[in-house]
């Protein structure tokens, strides 16, 4: 029999397989924690920090990414407190200012409640979620992609900047890239970027149902776990 642990997410007792992450446990039972770099069956790295939650323990709470947090017996998790909403909104705002030319990023920003972007737009091509790298490494064992550099200069690159022979041409890197789908209004030119915000009507996030996953269309753009499964 499968070993399980029981934890409380937003007050709801949730049973999850032992060793699974809090994010997986939440999605499994229909609690929507917004996420971006998480791909089911791949190792989570906690890079995008969109899926942050509050882990309540010892009378206090700590903010941590739910994808890398292993579910443990008796854990108390809060996914939608005011503090988390604010932090998540700020991170989504950073992301959308960095890469507005992605439907996935724009959708996540809407889902996280970003109403305005207070930073100058940058129009980057990559948000370094690492989905391509992990898919290439873990699923296909091809190791044809990797991260190069540090800090601001970190980027996804082929080994020695040349497409290696062992690349299997599977195309998964583009398939799983959140940047490959442009916003509905088409590609934004440099200097004309804006917060799209058009799909707000599709979120069906009524005040009483905050945090409930309704399989909204927002997830399609970036293979939200619910749409992939």
């Amino acid at each position: 029999m499968m070993q399980t642990v029981t934890l409380k997410i937003d007050g709801t007792p949730v049973r999850a397989a032992k060793g699974s992450s809090v994010l997986d446990a939440a999605i499994e039972c229909g609690i929507c924690i917004p996420h971006l770099c998480h791909v089911p069956f791949l190792k989570d790295t906690g890079a995008c920090r969109i899926c942050i939650v509050e882990n309540v323990r010892n009378g206090g709470s700590s903010v941590t990414a739910s994808c890398t947090l292993t579910a443990q017996e008796g854990m108390v998790i809060r996914t939608n407190t005011e503090k988390i909403q604010k932090l998540r909104r700020n991170i989504a705002e950073l992301l959308v200012a960095q890469a507005p030319n992605s439907k996935a990023v724009q959708d996540v920003a809407v889902r996280c409640g970003v109403k305005e972007v207070r930073y100058p737009f940058r129009n980057d091509n990559c948000i370094q979620c690492g989905r391509c790298v992990r898919y290439c490494t873990e699923m296909w064992r091809a190791n044809a992609l990797g991260f190069v550099g540090r800090g601001k200069n970190r980027r996804v690159e082929f080994p020695f900047a040349m497409r290696p022979e062992f690349c299997k041409n599977c195309g998964s890197c583009t398939l799983y890239c959140p940047m490959s789908v442009t916003p509905c209004g088409g590609p934004m030119k440099r200097g004309e970027e804006s917060l799209c915000g058009k799909c707000e009507s599709q979120t069906v996030m009524t005040p009483g149902m905050i945090g409930a996953c309704v399989r909204c269309d927002l997830g399609k753009g970036f293979q939200c776990t619910r749409h992939v499964l």
Partner: protein, 617 residues
């Protein structure tokens, strides 16, 4: 050298070495640390060596090249025993006089003595110099006593006594209890109780465990760990051996950054010597305990000083941090229980074992025990390494040991804890320096960097400097740190260059809090500290930059302009000739003028002008 196979053999060796040293009449101790090497101490050492032979003192005088003494401002420096005479700012030409008068006749060379900057009085002995006398040197005292390349020197001063004491009669559990009751806390910055860390690692059931020494010190202006490793690597190794005995590890690693070549060299030599003497390896000193240490070199990434990134780097992967929801004492290096401690923490262990936890706990404050080394730098007279008991006030460190401001300008703030720490204003100088008090005031102890700033420092510029450093050193894995720090830098640069808007200050505050809460590792979580603390204590400076477009300290180039005061200018033409951009025009004997568009505000004319005729506005 034959391996030592019993505890008694080590004792016999100690007696033998001490007996050999008795014949020596006097000892010349010259600092050979990195700081003094930069001021050419090697030529001094060579000259003194030659001079000793030349004057026929070779058999009775011992020349000892040691690690850093701490008073780097005076380098190259020398202490002559007996007599404890202290000579600073030496050159090779002084060797002849020192040997002929001090070593031969026991007379002091007056002109080389240290002069008190306040009174101008010459001070004869090292012990009387205020810089040293106000300190409590427990770890740094060794640097003078031994040659780091000689294991015999370390054994002669009582080295490996703690190890023998542990292996012959203290059970691992008792060692941990002893460390726990000593109140030792991690010296790397976090301040986690060391005893608790060891106990947790011990309680994990696993065959393989590791102990790791973190010597990847990267804070700008901090070099405590370098000094300890350079001047006494055996002390750290001994501490690690005791730790390994306590938690049940057989393998240890010293992760030292490659930018410290001397520390790498000395540590490697120490490990090699310890193996030769049978102090590392299988069945140490005939006991069932086996332990070995390897030295790993870091590639110069600041983030690799973070525990999980260090372990990833040790495993041979890119040094990026891992989520820390499971502590590294349970799953660390190669997913095995790992105890990671800072150089200073390990170095404190042997003396706790030898002198007892009560001795250690007698120093310091309620929450922080023992002594701590700080690297005192910036605008103070005496820069260098200082070791003080926890609880000493910032005021004492800066004014008693540091000797007060250097250039006559009033001291404005002190930055503690490196890029992860904060800036404390003068009004906070009365607080005792310990982990908890510093944290409450918005800074951290960090690894022990202490940069003193005077009125000529702009706090917005300081925040900008640290953000630039962190932006370069962030590994780039998680969004808040990579993008967030970059955006903070963007905002602070806007403010420093006169494009700042009121609402940007609140945005900066909000962003800083987000980065601190949500980042993956310790680097990101503490990255906003320089911004948050300067905004908290120097809000008026931010306001001046944003509202009045004015830099009160006259540092931010976009907000200042240079003017020549006509009534003071004599028309000597010095500034005109020294300006690299030809921005100054004027006729001889008539007041000059600066052409605003060409001036790059480099400040050369100000330093050149003898009449203080150039004003910054």
């Amino acid at each position: 050298m034959r391996k030592l196979e019993h505890f008694e053999e080590l004792e016999n060796l100690r007696k033998k070495v001490v007996a050999q040293r008795e014949k020596i009449r006097s000892t010349v101790i010259i600092c050979g640390g990195s700081g003094c090497k930069a001021t050419r101490c090697l030529s001094v050492i060579d000259a003194v060596k030659k001079e000793i032979v030349k004057q026929g003192l070779g058999h009775e005088v011992l020349l000892r090249t040691t690690g850093c003494h701490g008073f780097c401002e005076q380098g190259p420096l020398m202490v002559v025993e007996p007599g404890n005479f202290f000579y600073g700012h030496l050159t090779a030409a002084d060797a002849q006089e020192i040997v002929s008068s001090t070593l031969k006749n026991g007379e002091v060379v007056d002109r080389l003595l240290y002069a008190d900057p306040l009174t101008g009085k010459k001070i004869k002995t090292e012990a009387e110099i205020p810089f040293y006398s106000a300190q409590d040197r427990q770890l740094l005292k060794y640097s003078k006593l031994l040659d780091p390349c000689s294991i015999e020197d370390y054994i002669a001063v009582g080295g490996y006594k703690a190890l023998v004491k542990t292996l012959t009669g203290i059970a691992p559990k008792t060692v941990i209890e002893e460390i726990k009751s000593s109140g030792l806390r991690g010296r790397g910055g976090g301040g986690f109780p060391t005893g608790r860390k060891w106990a947790e690692a011990r309680s994990v059931r696993e065959d393989e465990k590791y102990v790791v020494c973190n010597a990847d010190e990267g804070d700008p202006g901090a070099y405590m760990d370098r000094c300890v490793l350079e001047s006494n690597p055996h002390l750290v190794i001994e501490g690690m051996m005791i730790g390994a005995w306590a938690v049940g590890a057989r393998q240890g690693y010293i992760y030292v950054r490659n930018e410290y070549p001397l520390a790498v060299q000395h540590t490697r030599l120490a490990v090699k010597k310890a193996r030769e003497f049978g102090l590392l390896g299988e069945n140490i000193l005939g006991s069932p305990f086996s332990f070995d240490v390897d030295v790993a070199r870091g590639g110069g990434a600041f983030v690799c000083g973070e525990s999980t990134a260090l372990m990833t780097s040790l495993e041979g992967k890119v040094g990026e941090p891992r989520p820390k929801d499971i502590h590294t004492v349970k799953e660390g290096l190669w997913n095995k229980p790992t105890v990671l401690n800072n150089v200073e923490t390990w170095a404190n262990v042997p003396s706790i074992i030898v002198n007892g936890s009560g001795w250690f706990a007698s120093k310091g404050t309620r929450g922080s025990k023992g002594t701590k080394i700080f690297a005192l730098t910036g605008q103070v007279k005496n820069t260098g390494l200082v070791e003080i008991a926890m609880g000493t006030t910032l005021h004492d460190i800066i004014f008693k040991i540091g000797g007060g401001p250097k250039n006559g300008k009033a001291i404005k703030a002190v930055q503690t804890g490196g890029p992860s720490g904060g800036c404390l204003p003068v009004s906070k100088f009365e607080i005792p320096v310990d982990f908890d008090t510093l944290y409450e005031t918005g800074s951290i102890m960090g690894s022990g960097g202490m940069v003193v700033m005077d009125e000529g420092t702009c706090m917005v510029d300081v925040a900008k400097y640290f953000l630039k450093f962190l932006q370069d050193e962030s590994c780039g894995k998680c969004v808040p740190c990579r993008v967030g720090v970059d955006r903070m830098l963007e905002i602070v640069t806007d403010i420093a260059e006169g494009r700042g808007r009121r609402e940007q200050i609140s945005l900066l505050q909000e962003l800083a809090e987000t980065v601190a809460e949500t980042s993956l590792c310790g680097l990101g979580k503490t990255a906003p500290n320089p911004v948050l603390s300067t905004m908290r204590y120097f809000a008026d400076e931010y306001a001046a930059h944003v509202d009045e477009k004015r830099c009160p300290a006259g540092v931010c180039k976009e907000l200042i302009h240079y003017d020549i005061l006509a009534e003071k200018c004599t028309g000597c033409g010095v500034c005109l000739r020294s300006c690299p951009y030809d921005a100054i025009k004027g006729e001889k004997k008539k007041a000059h003028a600066i052409e605003e568009p060409i001036c790059r505000k480099c400040g050369i004319c100000i330093t050149e002008c003898k009449y203080d005729a150039i004003a910054v506005g």
